[in-house]
């Protein structure tokens, strides 16, 4: 099919580097069966564009570089997407804060109904997506000529690296007229990112304070080389920063190992982690719903068990 329109994948990146969710969304994009172009929009984003060109299966990288795209505000990136849309059969982005903000804007402007949080590509126009916090899976067929999708990246494996796709620089830039960047507060962390981590240790309301969260949850995470997550209750109470929230309305993760400490297992939390390969729960209430999804449950006081667990892990790793 030579006349098939290519797919445009919006890269998730911070200019300097490509976020690993991009390689996962690429797997979903490739499943549509058309050549995939990756769009890198940013300011001084050459490095991210080069990283995108190395991803296997990418036919071409488009770089839109300039002050208009600094911080990837929704308005200019959506305007760019709308300008590029006629040449594409599908526009795709990972379900990140940027992807969720930009893609519906584009969809509305080209009069397309978006399919959010795709977890499986059944056919080039047919997708599975979770509804009701993942308690039901809807299979939908998109009837618009162009498809606009966001991808739940935890559901797709990452594409490999070793490619050298050509890079094309775009000179389209429509600065944001009515929305202006004021500032950002992004915590630098040596730990793996939640959405990319192989192991996650999460803490809940049971931790009781930010100090205890820091004293109990974080050392266990570090012993495991893990990312740190939290329940909504822990975030609301200020024990953990908002971007650590795992769940229906936070981050959706599927690591090899998920350790839930003092988390009850509300449906909204389960929605964000129940596709993890192995789940461990430590909770003093033996009837806590988290045990219904846990492979290994330990009933007891986390303040006693977690230090022991940390010591056992150190022994096992020695």
């Amino acid at each position: 099919m030579a006349d098939i329109l290519p797919t445009l994948l919006f890269a998730e990146h911070d200019d300097a580097s490509l976020n690993p969710v991009t390689a996962r969304a690429l797997t979903a994009a490739l499943a549509l069966g058309a050549p995939v172009h990756v769009l890198v929009a940013g300011e001084n984003a050459q490095a991210a564009a080069q990283a995108a060109a190395r991803l296997d299966g990418v036919a071409e990288v488009l770089l839109a570089d300039g002050p208009a795209f600094a911080h990837r505000l929704a308005e200019p990136v959506a305007a760019l997407g709308v300008a590029l849309a006629p040449a594409y059969g599908a526009l795709i982005a990972p379900s990140t804060a940027v992807g969720k903000s930009v893609m519906p804007r584009i969809a509305a402007l080209i009069d397309v109904m978006q399919v959010s949080d795709v977890i499986a590509v059944v056919a080039p126009d047919t997708f599975d997506r979770p509804i009701y916090a993942g308690n039901a899976i809807q299979r939908v067929r998109a009837t618009d000529a162009t498809r606009v999708l966001t991808i739940r990246t935890a559901a797709f494996a990452a594409a490999g690296e070793g490619n050298a796709a050509p890079l094309r620089t775009l000179d389209l830039a429509e600065p944001s007229a009515h929305s202006h960047f004021v500032g950002e507060d992004i915590a630098a962390s040596a730990r793996p990112e939640l959405t990319a981590a192989r192991i996650i240790v999460s803490g809940g309301r049971a931790l009781g304070s930010a100090e205890k969260f820091h004293e109990i949850v974080e050392p266990l995470a570090d012993a495991l080389g893990a990312a740190v997550g939290a329940s909504r209750a822990a975030v609301d109470a200020g024990y953990a920063p908002n971007d650590w929230q795992v769940g229906q309305t936070g981050k959706v993760v599927a690591p090899d190992l998920y350790v839930a400490l003092g988390i009850s297992g509300a449906i909204q939390h389960l929605a964000g982690m129940k596709d993890s390969k192995v789940i461990v729960a430590i909770n003093k209430d033996e009837d806590a719903p988290i045990f219904q999804v846990a492979d290994y449950g330990l009933v007891g006081d986390l303040f006693e068990i977690v230090p022991e667990l940390k010591a056992e892990i150190a022994k096992a790793k020695a």
Partner: protein, 253 residues
């Protein structure tokens, strides 16, 4: 300034939904319905802006079939001044009102009412789409700030702190603008009994979706709705040492 707050009637967040055995959808008969929690946060924020003297009027709007007015009434009982109900057919297979359609209907309401600010929830907890606010902003050509956790009104502008993937970001939007709420923006109030009584007398204007000139036909064909592949409970272990033994064996350490 006027603030428009779209609110959606959804299955209450405490209800564990059931998928119909024939794959045609989710069981909705005799199930507790409530206002989408993110929309409660949106109503609360609008009320606080009115109470601070920044906003003059808060209008709650909802799009939906019979009983949707109950949800508008909840917003009125919280303190919204008046309501607009865009009445649609009973929801079901083939006549879902999709986010794009909702955004088009809301655009027509915005054009009629002239608010300077529209505050929506970031997502509805039934379809989890996270689209309507962004789509409305796009159709109006207005700036947007999604996932708001703090809002400060300036002179013709709005400083909005947003919950983004790595932390927080602050944007300044020129008004008029569209905001979507995140969980940490505020804690919504409960409606007091006197306010529930007062809300019964507040006006709800009814509109018909068709008369707003919007095509309601869905663009996504729902082929099936199924249960997710379930997880079964594993085993209970007695000690940290036993747990580590299992994890080593499972190859995840």
């Amino acid at each position: 300034m006027k603030i428009l707050v779209p609110v959606k009637r959804v299955v209450d967040y405490n209800v564990k939904i059931r998928v119909k055995a024939d794959g045609s959808g989710v069981e909705l008969a005799n199930i507790k319905m409530s206002m989408n929690p993110f929309d409660e946060i949106a109503v609360e924020e609008a009320l606080r802006l009115r109470e601070a003297g920044t906003a003059s009027e808060v209008i709650a709007v909802s799009i939906g079939p019979a009983k949707t007015d109950e949800t508008i009434r909840t917003a009125l009982a919280m303190g919204a001044d008046r309501g607009i109900w865009v009445k649609t057919e009973e929801a079901g297979q083939g006549n879902t009102v999709e986010p794009l359609t909702v955004a088009k209907l809301l655009k027509a309401i915005v054009e009629a009412e002239g608010p300077s600010l529209v505050i929506l929830g970031k997502q509805a907890i039934d379809d989890d789409s996270n689209q309507t606010g962004q789509m409305l902003a796009a159709l109006l050509g207005w700036p947007q700030a999604t996932f708001a956790s703090k809002v400060v009104v300036g002179d013709g502008t709005l400083d909005v702190t947003r919950e983004i993937d790595g932390g927080l970001q602050t944007l300044r939007l020129d008004l008029p603008a569209v905001l979507t709420t995140d969980l940490r923006l505020n804690e919504p109030r409960y409606a007091s009994l006197p306010n529930i009584m007062k809300a019964k007398k507040k006006p709800i204007e009814q509109k018909n979706a068709a008369e707003l000139g919007v095509d309601l036909a869905p663009r996504l064909e729902i082929l099936s709705t199924t249960e997710p592949s379930g997880r079964t409970a594993g085993i209970k272990v007695a000690s940290a040492a036993e747990l580590v033994g299992h994890l080593k064996q499972a190859g995840v350490l």
